[in-house]
Every structure is written in structure tokens, then in C-alpha cells.
Subunit: 239 residues, 3 copies
């Protein structure tokens, strides 16, 4: 992908945002993108490839939103960045801005990278293909609240072994919550890791604004022996 970009737009500067999204975890990729995009300069072009449906009928999109451009498969990955600032969406069908041979397993290289490079060269978004109206939703289950109890779940584990959940600040609100995972009470929501002793498990609001389960100086993923963290239940109780 970097070679393709360098061939079409030799002056373009390429930054690696992340190559560490868990295999085919569209939710993790979408949230990473949504959390990171606003820190990049206006005009940035994002090539986003978490693409389990590559080669199927799923569409390849490019969208302008919030002063930035995002390219990726229509599988929910771009959904969080297609918010209030959405200007337009196109489907990447114009063969002039793809590689001559498009493989059925690597659209990152053959469709998304060349489209991004041509955009960087000044090709207008509307030249890449016809306007597209809607995009696939991102399937993030909402926590279930019943009385003083909330049933949340783990969305993914980050590279430090922190377990990122679907309980966002907006959902938690101003209430005081106590957190439980795998039958283990880990106390109230803390501000930062050093609010507990070394080696202790804790819950806090991560830099993305979501409840995370962590171990100070360690890995919650390893501590809890979770092989498949995605979907693991987390319970919260308010006072």
C-alpha cells in the first residue's frame, strides 16, 4: 500500500496510525479511528482497512467529513466518523483510480491506496465514483441498564491488555458505579492507574472516554485469562 501511494503521489507523507487492530475487529478499528481522527490536521486523508468482507459485494467508499477524508469498506468502519460534519460519500468504482488488476483479497493495495494517492494529487472526490447515500451501521451493543445495575461488555483488548468496554461516559453519567468482572469486585471507577497499588485490578475511563478494565503495571487480559475478550460481560452497580 505504501509503495502504491509513493508511486502515484511521491510527495505524500504517510503516517502509520495503527497496524495493531485485532484481526477483523471492525468495532475496534472504527473506535480507534473515531478517537484519533480529530487529532490529525484538517485535510488529512485516512486509508482505513479492516476488511473481513474483501472480495464480496460490500462497497468501497470514500467520504468527506469534518474537514477530513476517509476511505474504507462499507462495513461500519467509517460509521463513527460519518457524523455531524458529513459532506459527501462516493463509491470507489472509477477504474481510472484503481490499480489495473484488482485482486479479490487485497483492496487496500488495489483500490483504497491508489484512490487516496489520487486525492492527495488533487483529484476531486466526486471523480472517484458516483455519490453513495448510506453506509453500513456499526454494530456496537449498548449496555443494558435495569435499576441500579448495568450489564456492559468488553469490545476489545488494547495492546497493553486493557479491556475497553461499551460503557461510555455518556451512559455512565454522574452516578457512582462499582464494577465487577468474572465474579470479581474491582471497586469504583478510578481516575488513573496510580489510584490503586501496583498489581491491582481497576476500572477507569480511558483516553477514549470509555470504561476500561486494567491492571496497574500489568495486563487485565492476562490476569483474567481471557482468550477471547470481545463480548466478555462486565457488571456495574450504582449506589
Amino acid at each position: 500500500m505504501k509503495g502504491v501511494i509513493a508511486s502515484i503521489a511521491p510527495e505524500a507523507e504517510v503516517l502509520d496510525l495503527s497496524h495493531e487492530v485485532s484481526r477483523q475487529n471492525v468495532v475496534e478499528g472504527a473506535l480507534l479511528l473515531a478517537d484519533s481522527a480529530r487529532f490529525f490536521p484538517s485535510g488529512s486523508i485516512f486509508v482505513c482497512v479492516v476488511d473481513p468482507g474483501v472480495g464480496s459485494k460490500r462497497r468501497c467508499l470514500a467520504m468527506e467529513s469534518g474537514g477530513r477524508i476517509f476511505l474504507g469498506p462499507d462495513n461500519g468502519l467509517l460509521h463513527p466518523v460519518a457524523g455531524a460534519g458529513l459532506v459527501r460519500v462516493v463509491e470507489l468504482t472509477n477504474a481510472a483510480y484503481r490499480l489495473p488488476d484488482v485482486s479479490p483479497t487485497f483492496h487496500g493495495r488495489d483500490i483504497f491506496a491508489p484512490a487516496a494517492a489520487h486525492l492527495w494529487n488533487g483529484v476531486p472526490l466526486s471523480d472517484l465514483g458516483p455519490a453513495a447515500v448510506s453506509t453500513a451501521p456499526l454494530e456496537i451493543p449498548a449496555p443494558r441498564v435495569s435499576g441500579r445495575r448495568m450489564d456492559a461488555l468488553v469490545l476489545f483488548a488494547d495492546r497493553f491488555g486493557n479491556l475497553v468496554t461499551n460503557a461510555s461516559l455518556g451512559i455512565l453519567g454522574a452516578a457512582q458505579w462499582t464494577v465487577e468482572i468474572k465474579g470479581k469486585r474491582i471497586g469504583r471507577v478510578r481516575r488513573t492507574y496510580s489510584d490503586v497499588p501496583e498489581g491491582r485490578m481497576l476500572a477507569l475511563i480511558g483516553s477514549s472516554g470509555r470504561l476500561e478494565i486494567s491492571v496497574r503495571g500489568g495486563s487485565a487480559l492476562e490476569r483474567l485469562h481471557l482468550r477471547r475478550p470481545c463480548g466478555f460481560p462486565v457488571r456495574l452497580f450504582s449506589r
Copy 2:
């Protein structure tokens, strides 16, 4: 290595092609390089270090081939890119283009990176050392074909857990093959992941033109519990 390049050729742009080749897997590195090089601009300089023999008598080479320059150890890593377009090969012996102190365990930093930076600065290839004639072959075992059966094997697992085999498109030809691995029939060769249901194992031709064993939405490496994928047998039967 990046610091060395930035010190000698401050304007050179460095792209990371991959840091994920399995430890000391020369075949994986060589195939990655062969598959990727043509997507990079003419004139690109490739620093290629998969180098289990570092510090031994194996030579350090630079070669011009297909309008690009490749530097690396003479262990087969550069063999696939030294094809029809090969112009010249030199051995990197000129001390003027190495770091002053060459460690016996990190020639990437001390020999290959400085040579690449000097090439970028305009030093001619022939100044880096004497012409060298031949290079080590790359030992990729060919599949054995007997009648309607082909015995192939896994060369490496990629970062998604796909098992890349030694059965290339050229060997498979036009025949219809049925694939078996670890005693499990996984059907005919498919076009892309979504040709089978979620979670199903399949065989397809990967973006590099070789037969791969995959799991849709998963990892064949994990599904088959392969600790050492390299060399694992794969059987094919034609109708």
C-alpha cells in the same frame, strides 16, 4: 537503522515495508519482497534484513534489478528479485560506506543502512564494493505431483493466521483442485473469503498468487493449532 539513514541522508524518506516477517524466516522475507517490490517507484532502495547468518562469512550484497536497488545478506533473501531485470551485483566491502565500528550481530545498522543512505546520496553502486557474480539460491521446496494428487506444504503463516503454501498459480494450472489439511477436506479453491460462511475454513489464491489456507473471519493457524506452521503438509486432489 533509521537513525543511521537520517544521519547520512537527512532528506531520504523511509517507509516501513514490514517488521513482521517471522523470526529468521528467509523464505517469508524473500516472497514478501518479491511480491511487494513492483508496487514501489522505480529507483526505490530496499534495505532487506532477515539475517540469521549475521557475523558469519555470508556476504553482504547490493544489487540493481528491475530499476530498483536491493541490499541484503547473500542467503537467498534477494534471490527472487534478481530475475530477468538484473543489471549488477556488488559485495558491500568498502569500509568508507560502513559505520566505523561493525558489530558482529547487527549488520542492518552497521553495513546495510549506511550503504543505502550513501546510494540515496548519489554514490554509484560500483563504489560500494567489487562486482559479485552469483548469489545464494532460495530453498523453496516444490510441491510433488503424482497423478491426480499434489503434496504441497505451508511456507509461513501471515499476520492474519493465513497459511501461505508453496503451491503457486503456475503449478496449480487450470485443473480443479480439492484441498486437504490435517486430515480435513476443505473443498475446492475459492476466489475470496466470502465464498464460504463465516467461521468456515477455505483454500484460495492469495494476493501473492499462492494457495493459502484461511478461515473466514478467523485464523487458520489457530483453528488448526499449528505451533510451527512452516513445513506443515497440505494435500490437493484434482478431479
Copy 3:
């Protein structure tokens, strides 16, 4: 972090030194930095984040040393580069050079990256905050020597599975040492991997000048089944 730098200093070139330091292993990060910094051009700005104490009272520092600038938490990470060439240290307290909202869990993005970008833009180090006098020491245990025996230990495993120890060239001196780990004699200190047959365990002085335990063509970490290499004992005997 890259987005923040690109937003403040669009022309700054960012190189990734490493994203592979073991989780929260300050010693590993500090030694990597100390080993690598001298290979980078004079004037380079290093953003160093191995930061288990993020959000606590630990200070955020920037220091000029040896013609380069280093930013990082005051937890020992910068200690080895604050050697003979140290010119000045400041604490990063000036809110004008932080992001408007500083999260308690990601100072890399909110404090260190913006400070580095402003330095690149020409802001003087002294504008970032008040002079700071001392920094936290780096807690690297020294090997214990008694007679002809030395008790060393593993500091970390690198990405190849080599076990890097606290026995540096300066401590080993000119004596001939025989090395033992997990009850296994692995012979004298070698010069490079190919001094032993394929698959054999060996001890050598790595590119950083420290004794390392390796397997030729393999991984010492895997061979010895070490789940937590940090602190594992290594014994040396001199003749």
C-alpha cells in the same frame, strides 16, 4: 501522537524508533534509547513514552543532552541519556504547549507530543517550563560477583527471543566466562550466532554491549519456556 505532531509542526518528519518495548518495562525502554540515540542526527527530538505512572505525581520532563533533546516521564527512562553531555532539564508545565484537555491516562498524546512539535517549530526548551534539577534513577540491579562466580539476571527479552542481561562488557572485563542458565551450561561467551551449530543455545555480547542468551536460528525465550524473562537468573564462572 503523530496526528498531534502533524497538526502543530506539519513539516516535522517522524520516525518510529520502536513500538515493541515490553509493556511498562522502563529498563528496556531506557536501554533501547541509550543504545540508539547516538545513531540519530544531532538535533533530533526523542519522544519517549514508557509510562506506567501516567496520571500520578511523576513529572513530565524535557532535557537537552549530547546535542539531542529527550522528552519523557521522570521515571528513569531518560536516566541513561542524561549523562556527561547533559545541558539542561525542564519540567513540562507550560499549558501553552500542551493540548487544551490533558487526559489522566495518555500524556504521550496530550503533553509529550505537543511539546516535541513546538520544540521542532523553534520554541526554546526553557519556554516549556521551569528548570528541573534531578531525575529519577534507573533501577538496574548490578550483577553480584564473588570470587570466580557472577550472578547476573535477565533484563528483558527482545523481539527475537534473545535474553538481554545486566552483565555489560565493562563488568565482564577481560576474563573468560562460562555461562549457565536454568541449570544448563551453555559454554563460553561467543562472538556471533554462527559460532555454534544451528539450534544450539549460546551466550554472546549483543549489539548493545550486554551479555545475551540466544539460540542460533531460534528463540531462547521459547527454548527455556520463560513466561516472565525479566529477573531470571544467569550465572557466570570465570576460569
